[in-house]
Subunit: 111 residues, 2 copies
DNA sequence: TTCTCGTGCAACCCTGTGGTTGCACCAGAA
DNA sequence: TTCTGGTGCAACCACAGGGTTGCACGAGAA
Protein backbone atom coordinates (compact mmCIF):
# COMPACT_ATOMS: atom_id res chain seq x y z
CA UNK A 1 0.00 0.00 0.00
CA UNK A 2 1.42 3.34 -1.00
CA UNK A 3 -1.10 5.95 0.05
CA UNK A 4 0.80 7.61 2.83
CA UNK A 5 3.36 10.38 3.16
CA UNK A 6 4.29 11.18 -0.42
CA UNK A 7 8.05 10.94 -0.98
CA UNK A 8 9.36 14.04 -2.71
CA UNK A 9 12.13 11.97 -4.18
CA UNK A 10 9.87 9.48 -5.92
CA UNK A 11 7.07 11.79 -6.97
CA UNK A 12 9.28 14.41 -8.57
CA UNK A 13 11.44 11.94 -10.44
CA UNK A 14 8.37 9.99 -11.51
CA UNK A 15 6.80 13.15 -12.87
CA UNK A 16 10.05 14.31 -14.46
CA UNK A 17 9.71 11.91 -17.37
CA UNK A 18 7.49 12.99 -20.29
CA UNK A 19 6.45 9.44 -21.11
CA UNK A 20 5.31 8.87 -17.55
CA UNK A 21 3.30 12.10 -17.49
CA UNK A 22 1.74 10.96 -20.77
CA UNK A 23 0.90 7.62 -19.21
CA UNK A 24 -0.89 9.39 -16.37
CA UNK A 25 -2.84 11.35 -18.95
CA UNK A 26 -3.82 8.25 -20.88
CA UNK A 27 -4.85 6.41 -17.74
CA UNK A 28 -6.85 9.43 -16.61
CA UNK A 29 -8.71 9.48 -19.90
CA UNK A 30 -9.39 5.78 -20.08
CA UNK A 31 -9.94 4.95 -16.48
CA UNK A 32 -7.75 1.91 -16.78
CA UNK A 33 -5.66 0.06 -19.35
CA UNK A 34 -3.09 -2.68 -19.79
CA UNK A 35 0.56 -2.06 -20.57
CA UNK A 36 0.01 -3.56 -24.01
CA UNK A 37 -2.85 -1.16 -24.77
CA UNK A 38 -0.89 1.83 -23.52
CA UNK A 39 2.12 0.88 -25.62
CA UNK A 40 -0.18 1.08 -28.63
CA UNK A 41 -0.56 4.82 -28.08
CA UNK A 42 3.10 5.49 -27.40
CA UNK A 43 6.25 5.32 -29.50
CA UNK A 44 7.85 2.78 -27.16
CA UNK A 45 7.64 -0.93 -26.54
CA UNK A 46 5.35 -2.66 -24.07
CA UNK A 47 8.31 -3.46 -21.85
CA UNK A 48 9.31 0.19 -21.69
CA UNK A 49 5.76 1.05 -20.66
CA UNK A 50 5.83 -1.63 -17.98
CA UNK A 51 9.00 -0.15 -16.53
CA UNK A 52 7.43 3.29 -16.39
CA UNK A 53 4.33 1.88 -14.74
CA UNK A 54 6.51 0.25 -12.12
CA UNK A 55 8.07 3.62 -11.35
CA UNK A 56 4.66 5.31 -11.17
CA UNK A 57 3.46 2.56 -8.87
CA UNK A 58 6.52 3.06 -6.69
CA UNK A 59 5.61 6.71 -6.37
CA UNK A 60 2.07 5.68 -5.46
CA UNK A 61 0.59 7.39 -8.49
CA UNK A 62 -0.94 4.35 -10.14
CA UNK A 63 -2.07 0.92 -9.05
CA UNK A 64 -2.74 -2.36 -10.83
CA UNK A 65 -5.06 -5.31 -10.49
CA UNK A 66 -5.34 -8.63 -12.26
CA UNK A 67 -8.27 -9.21 -14.55
CA UNK A 68 -8.08 -12.71 -15.90
CA UNK A 69 -4.77 -12.98 -17.65
CA UNK A 70 -4.54 -9.25 -18.03
CA UNK A 71 -3.07 -6.72 -15.65
CA UNK A 72 -4.99 -3.47 -15.69
CA UNK A 73 -3.45 -0.25 -14.38
CA UNK A 74 -5.27 2.84 -13.18
CA UNK A 75 -4.43 6.14 -11.55
CA UNK A 76 -4.77 6.53 -7.78
CA UNK A 77 -7.09 9.48 -7.23
CA UNK A 78 -6.33 9.68 -3.54
CA UNK A 79 -2.58 9.60 -4.09
CA UNK A 80 -2.79 12.28 -6.75
CA UNK A 81 -4.90 14.45 -4.48
CA UNK A 82 -2.42 13.91 -1.65
CA UNK A 83 0.41 14.88 -3.98
CA UNK A 84 -1.39 18.06 -4.94
CA UNK A 85 -1.88 18.97 -1.29
CA UNK A 86 1.73 18.15 -0.57
CA UNK A 87 2.87 20.41 -3.41
CA UNK A 88 0.89 23.20 -1.81
CA UNK A 89 2.69 22.64 1.44
CA UNK A 90 6.04 22.83 -0.30
CA UNK A 91 4.95 26.07 -1.89
CA UNK A 92 3.81 27.43 1.47
CA UNK A 93 7.11 26.48 3.07
CA UNK A 94 8.94 28.35 0.37
CA UNK A 95 6.75 31.36 0.85
CA UNK A 96 7.45 31.56 4.56
CA UNK A 97 11.17 31.25 3.97
CA UNK A 98 11.05 33.98 1.39
CA UNK A 99 9.15 36.20 3.75
CA UNK A 100 11.83 35.65 6.35
CA UNK A 101 14.48 36.60 3.84
CA UNK A 102 12.77 39.84 2.98
CA UNK A 103 12.38 40.72 6.64
CA UNK A 104 16.08 40.17 7.24
CA UNK A 105 16.97 42.25 4.22
CA UNK A 106 14.84 45.13 5.45
CA UNK A 107 16.32 44.94 8.94
CA UNK A 108 19.79 45.03 7.47
CA UNK A 109 18.92 48.20 5.61
CA UNK A 110 17.43 49.69 8.73
CA UNK A 111 20.67 49.24 10.73
CA UNK B 1 19.17 34.84 -18.19
CA UNK B 2 16.45 32.24 -17.83
CA UNK B 3 13.19 33.90 -16.84
CA UNK B 4 10.69 31.96 -18.87
CA UNK B 5 7.45 30.23 -17.96
CA UNK B 6 7.89 27.17 -15.80
CA UNK B 7 8.49 23.99 -17.77
CA UNK B 8 7.18 20.81 -16.16
CA UNK B 9 10.11 18.92 -17.54
CA UNK B 10 12.76 21.13 -15.99
CA UNK B 11 11.07 21.89 -12.69
CA UNK B 12 10.27 18.30 -11.83
CA UNK B 13 13.67 16.96 -12.75
CA UNK B 14 15.37 19.85 -10.97
CA UNK B 15 13.39 19.11 -7.83
CA UNK B 16 13.92 15.36 -8.15
CA UNK B 17 17.48 15.56 -6.84
CA UNK B 18 17.94 15.67 -3.05
CA UNK B 19 21.09 17.77 -3.26
CA UNK B 20 19.28 20.38 -5.33
CA UNK B 21 16.36 20.53 -2.93
CA UNK B 22 18.91 20.96 -0.14
CA UNK B 23 20.53 23.80 -2.09
CA UNK B 24 17.19 25.54 -2.35
CA UNK B 25 16.80 25.18 1.40
CA UNK B 26 20.24 26.58 2.11
CA UNK B 27 19.71 29.49 -0.24
CA UNK B 28 16.34 30.17 1.33
CA UNK B 29 17.91 30.32 4.78
CA UNK B 30 20.87 32.46 3.82
CA UNK B 31 19.32 34.74 1.28
CA UNK B 32 22.28 34.24 -0.99
CA UNK B 33 25.58 32.38 -1.16
CA UNK B 34 28.43 31.39 -3.46
CA UNK B 35 28.97 27.89 -4.79
CA UNK B 36 32.08 27.63 -2.63
CA UNK B 37 30.16 28.51 0.52
CA UNK B 38 27.36 26.09 -0.30
CA UNK B 39 29.82 23.29 -0.96
CA UNK B 40 31.06 23.83 2.60
CA UNK B 41 27.70 22.66 3.91
CA UNK B 42 27.35 19.72 1.58
CA UNK B 43 29.19 16.43 1.14
CA UNK B 44 30.09 17.25 -2.45
CA UNK B 45 32.66 19.34 -4.27
CA UNK B 46 32.24 22.93 -5.37
CA UNK B 47 32.07 21.82 -8.97
CA UNK B 48 29.23 19.45 -8.21
CA UNK B 49 27.39 22.31 -6.52
CA UNK B 50 27.96 24.54 -9.53
CA UNK B 51 26.45 21.94 -11.82
CA UNK B 52 23.38 21.70 -9.62
CA UNK B 53 23.04 25.46 -9.53
CA UNK B 54 23.17 25.53 -13.32
CA UNK B 55 20.29 23.05 -13.42
CA UNK B 56 18.30 25.07 -10.89
CA UNK B 57 18.95 28.19 -12.91
CA UNK B 58 17.79 26.40 -16.03
CA UNK B 59 14.52 25.60 -14.26
CA UNK B 60 14.27 29.25 -13.25
CA UNK B 61 14.42 28.44 -9.57
CA UNK B 62 17.56 30.39 -8.73
CA UNK B 63 19.46 33.28 -10.19
CA UNK B 64 23.00 34.59 -9.85
CA UNK B 65 24.80 37.91 -9.91
CA UNK B 66 28.43 38.92 -9.82
CA UNK B 67 29.78 40.58 -6.73
CA UNK B 68 33.40 41.44 -7.27
CA UNK B 69 35.16 38.24 -8.07
CA UNK B 70 32.41 36.23 -6.46
CA UNK B 71 29.23 34.86 -7.98
CA UNK B 72 26.37 34.91 -5.54
CA UNK B 73 23.29 32.76 -6.07
CA UNK B 74 19.83 33.31 -4.63
CA UNK B 75 16.37 31.79 -4.95
CA UNK B 76 13.83 33.38 -7.27
CA UNK B 77 10.78 34.13 -5.14
CA UNK B 78 8.62 34.88 -8.15
CA UNK B 79 9.61 31.71 -9.94
CA UNK B 80 8.98 29.60 -6.86
CA UNK B 81 5.58 31.21 -6.39
CA UNK B 82 4.79 30.61 -10.04
CA UNK B 83 5.83 26.99 -9.67
CA UNK B 84 3.57 26.57 -6.67
CA UNK B 85 0.65 28.02 -8.62
CA UNK B 86 1.47 25.82 -11.55
CA UNK B 87 1.51 22.75 -9.32
CA UNK B 88 -1.96 23.68 -8.18
CA UNK B 89 -3.11 23.81 -11.75
CA UNK B 90 -1.70 20.36 -12.39
CA UNK B 91 -3.51 19.10 -9.33
CA UNK B 92 -6.74 20.73 -10.49
CA UNK B 93 -6.38 19.19 -13.92
CA UNK B 94 -5.99 15.79 -12.33
CA UNK B 95 -9.02 16.37 -10.18
CA UNK B 96 -11.24 17.18 -13.13
CA UNK B 97 -10.04 14.13 -14.99
CA UNK B 98 -10.70 11.95 -11.99
CA UNK B 99 -14.16 13.39 -11.64
CA UNK B 100 -14.82 12.50 -15.26
CA UNK B 101 -13.64 8.97 -14.64
CA UNK B 102 -15.95 8.52 -11.70
CA UNK B 103 -18.88 9.85 -13.69
CA UNK B 104 -18.19 7.36 -16.48
CA UNK B 105 -17.87 4.53 -13.99
CA UNK B 106 -21.23 5.38 -12.45
CA UNK B 107 -22.91 5.63 -15.85
CA UNK B 108 -21.51 2.23 -16.76
CA UNK B 109 -23.02 0.76 -13.63
CA UNK B 110 -26.31 2.45 -14.38
CA UNK B 111 -26.60 0.81 -17.81
C1' DT C 1 53.64 44.33 -9.23
C1' DT C 2 52.96 40.10 -7.02
C1' DC C 3 50.31 36.94 -4.35
C1' DT C 4 45.73 34.82 -3.25
C1' DC C 5 41.85 32.58 -3.87
C1' DG C 6 37.28 31.96 -6.04
C1' DT C 7 35.69 30.99 -10.79
C1' DG C 8 35.12 28.72 -14.95
C1' DC C 9 36.41 24.89 -18.15
C1' DA C 10 37.25 20.48 -19.46
C1' DA C 11 38.34 15.68 -19.22
C1' DC C 12 36.97 11.52 -16.96
C1' DC C 13 34.61 7.89 -14.32
C1' DC C 14 30.71 5.27 -12.93
C1' DT C 15 26.05 4.40 -12.05
C1' DG C 16 21.19 4.86 -13.13
C1' DT C 17 17.82 4.36 -16.31
C1' DG C 18 15.12 4.51 -20.58
C1' DG C 19 14.78 1.51 -24.35
C1' DT C 20 15.16 -2.98 -26.93
C1' DT C 21 14.86 -7.95 -27.95
C1' DG C 22 14.16 -12.78 -26.86
C1' DC C 23 11.86 -16.22 -24.51
C1' DA C 24 9.42 -18.95 -21.03
C1' DC C 25 5.02 -19.20 -18.84
C1' DC C 26 0.13 -19.51 -18.30
C1' DA C 27 -4.95 -18.45 -18.54
C1' DG C 28 -8.70 -18.58 -21.60
C1' DA C 29 -10.48 -19.86 -26.29
C1' DA C 30 -11.13 -23.64 -29.73
C1' DT D 1 -5.81 -31.08 -25.28
C1' DT D 2 -3.94 -27.72 -28.22
C1' DC D 3 -3.52 -23.08 -29.77
C1' DT D 4 -3.15 -18.16 -28.88
C1' DG D 5 -1.89 -13.98 -27.02
C1' DG D 6 -0.72 -11.13 -22.91
C1' DT D 7 2.60 -11.28 -18.96
C1' DG D 8 6.74 -11.39 -16.65
C1' DC D 9 11.80 -12.14 -16.67
C1' DA D 10 16.31 -11.23 -17.94
C1' DA D 11 20.14 -9.87 -20.74
C1' DC D 12 21.91 -6.06 -23.16
C1' DC D 13 22.88 -1.42 -25.12
C1' DA D 14 23.47 3.62 -25.10
C1' DC D 15 23.38 7.76 -23.02
C1' DA D 16 22.40 11.24 -19.48
C1' DG D 17 23.83 12.92 -15.30
C1' DG D 18 26.01 13.31 -10.72
C1' DG D 19 30.57 13.37 -8.98
C1' DT D 20 35.67 14.08 -9.15
C1' DT D 21 40.21 16.11 -10.24
C1' DG D 22 43.30 19.31 -12.53
C1' DC D 23 44.37 23.67 -14.21
C1' DA D 24 44.17 28.24 -16.37
C1' DC D 25 42.30 32.80 -15.56
C1' DG D 26 41.35 37.09 -13.34
C1' DA D 27 39.96 40.42 -9.70
C1' DG D 28 41.06 42.22 -5.32
C1' DA D 29 44.50 42.31 -1.41
C1' DA D 30 49.35 43.25 -0.02
Amino acid sequence: MTTEPVAAEDVFSALADPTRRRLLELLSERGDATATELAGDLPVSRQAVVKHLVVLDGAGLVTARRDGRERRYQVRPDALAATARWMNQVAAQWSSRLTAIKRLAEQAEGD
